[in-house]
């Protein structure tokens, strides 16, 4: 079973919600073993991805100018 590649613009919320739903589906049972294993691996990958996001996050601050452009604030 191959993992869907994580979309490059997947948000933390999407990953987190998907992980929650995977746990629910696994706990509900009534899946084939292949499906279960696939979900399990995806869940593991998602939880690692979420952890990494939290570990590496640094608050970015930018400013919105009157012309609608954004610039980083140091």
């Amino acid at each position: 079973m191959t993992l869907d590649p994580f979309s490059p613009d997947m948000t933390f919320e999407e990953a987190y919600k998907e992980l929650e739903s995977i746990v629910l589906r696994l706990e509900a049972g009534s899946l084939t073993l292949d499906e279960s294993l696939g979900l399990y691996e995806r869940g593991q990958a998602l939880s690692k991805w979420c952890e990494t996001q939290l570990d590496s996050a640094e608050l970015r601050v930018s400013q919105l100018a009157d012309d609608g452009s954004e610039s980083e604030l140091s």
């Binding site: 073993l33 996001q53 996050a57 930018s62 400013q63 919105l64 609608g68």
Partner: protein, 414 residues
């Protein structure tokens, strides 16, 4: 120093009063002065204390003098504003003497911040008008997103409030990006700038939530947040707005219009973000659930496999043949039992029939003494006396042997 009574030189003073008599005399003078019955005093509040009874005691002072004041619980309940030490206020009430300690004091029945009388009225008028128009309706309040990616912040970048907000976000949810729209937060320019900033963020569309914030200050400092233009911009925003203006006790018009009010800028930043520490804990829980669900699934499969193996054993050809053989035996047994029953029933029927046959056998009847009578000429068996006239020769067959006889006479049935 000379004694005063010596100076009186033996003469009695005109009148000697007790302390209470004097106090009551003075109290009477106070009562007689109309101005003291109904007046407003302006001054700075100090030593403001509320007792368990609900009554409040404080001092009003200016640079030259002090006035003790008391405000009863019932008056406090009617008053929307409660002063703190240092506030300049106007207190309304009457002045009287408290006989117990001989001190005069102001019995205040209403109190409001000094110099802001008209602002307060404006505030109340604006609040009522916007409320009547529906700007505060809870139906209009939108939910705050649980995981904001971009947080629009409208505040002054130079103020401590903006630092507080960033500190909270860094600690709780650094995944978010702050999109600041800088404005003045007090002064005449502030309302138009704040309203424009909210519109700009709303039009820009990238922010998931807008935090409108300003640190604590006097009522005048916070006045921009009571401005109708700001209130309407918040109401019109396409993006949910959370307000964190002033301190816990400060309520401004935008607080009523916004989708949610936080007591301070920091509290506002907390309100719009999940806490990373909670998220880590939940992620750990989810992983544990993931593992146990997978282990559970595998265990279940293993159990099913064992059950399958047992079932398979039952289904092997050898077992099937043995089962068939056994079934065959059973059927055979049932078959022979049925056959035997059939034969038995036939036999019983046969015996019954032969018994009936025996009973009908004429020889058996002759043995019991009956006889068969027939006419000699034609051998006709006789059962009617009409058939044998007197003189007819008849043969009487007995069980053993035959008698030849002639009919002598006969009796006919009548």
């Amino acid at each position: 120093m000379q004694n005063m009574f010596d100076m009186l030189d033996g003469k009695q003073p005109a009148k000697i009063l007790t302390v209470v008599e004097l106090t009551q005399l003075i109290a009477g003078l106070f009562s007689a002065e109309p101005l003291l019955r109904d007046l407003t005093i302006e001054g700075e509040v100090s030593n403001f204390k509320r007792y368990a009874s609900g009554h409040a005691y404080f001092t009003l002072k200016d640079s030259k003098s002090q006035l003790k004041c008391v405000m009863w619980k019932t008056s406090i309940a009617r008053n929307t504003y409660l002063p703190v030490d240092g506030d300049r206020v106007r207190a309304h009430g009457y002045v009287d003497v408290y006989v117990d300690n001989g001190a005069y004091q102001l019995y205040a029945d209403a109190i409001q911040p000094a110099g802001l009388g008209t602002l307060y009225q404006q505030f109340e008028r604006m609040k009522m008008a916007l409320q009547a128009e529906g700007l505060f309706d809870s139906a209009h309040k939108r939910p705050i997103p649980a995981f904001p990616r971009v947080i629009g912040v409208v505040t002054s970048p130079s103020a401590a409030a903006f630092q507080d907000i960033q500190n909270v976000l860094r600690r709780r949810y650094p995944l978010a990006r702050v999109l600041l729209k800088a404005t003045l937060v007090q002064g005449e320019q502030a309302p138009t700038q704040i309203a424009a900033a909210i519109r700009a963020l709303s039009d820009h569309g990238e922010a998931d939530v807008i935090l409108l914030a300003r640190g604590g200050g006097s009522i005048e400092d916070l006045w921009a947040f009571n401005d109708e233009r700001v209130a309407r911009a918040v109401y019109a925003s396409a993006i949910p707005v959370v307000t964190g203006v002033g301190h816990e006790t400060d309520f401004t018009i935008v607080d009523f219009v916004s989708d949610q009010r936080a007591p301070t800028p920091s509290a506002g930043a907390e309100l719009i973000t999940p806490d990373m520490a909670d998220l880590r804990r939940i992620l750990g829980d989810l992983r544990a659930h993931l593992d146990s669900a997978m282990i559970g699934t595998i265990d279940e499969r293993r159990g099913a496999l064992a059950a399958g193996r047992r079932a398979l054993r039952h289904l092997s050809p050898r077992v099937a043949v043995a089962h068939s053989r056994q079934r065959l035996d059973g059927q055979r047994m049932r078959l022979s039992a049925a056959t035997e029953r059939t034969i038995e029933r036939a036999r019983e029927r046969l015996i019954a029939k032969s018994r009936a046959l025996d009973t009908a056998n004429p020889t058996h009847i002759l043995a019991r003494g009956y006889a068969i009578v027939s006419r000699a000429g034609d051998n006709k068996r006789l059962s009617d006396a009409n058939d044998a006239a007197p003189g007819t020769t008849i043969a009487v067959q007995l069980a053993h042997g035959i008698l030849k006889a002639t009919v002598k006479d006969r009796t006919l049935d009548t």
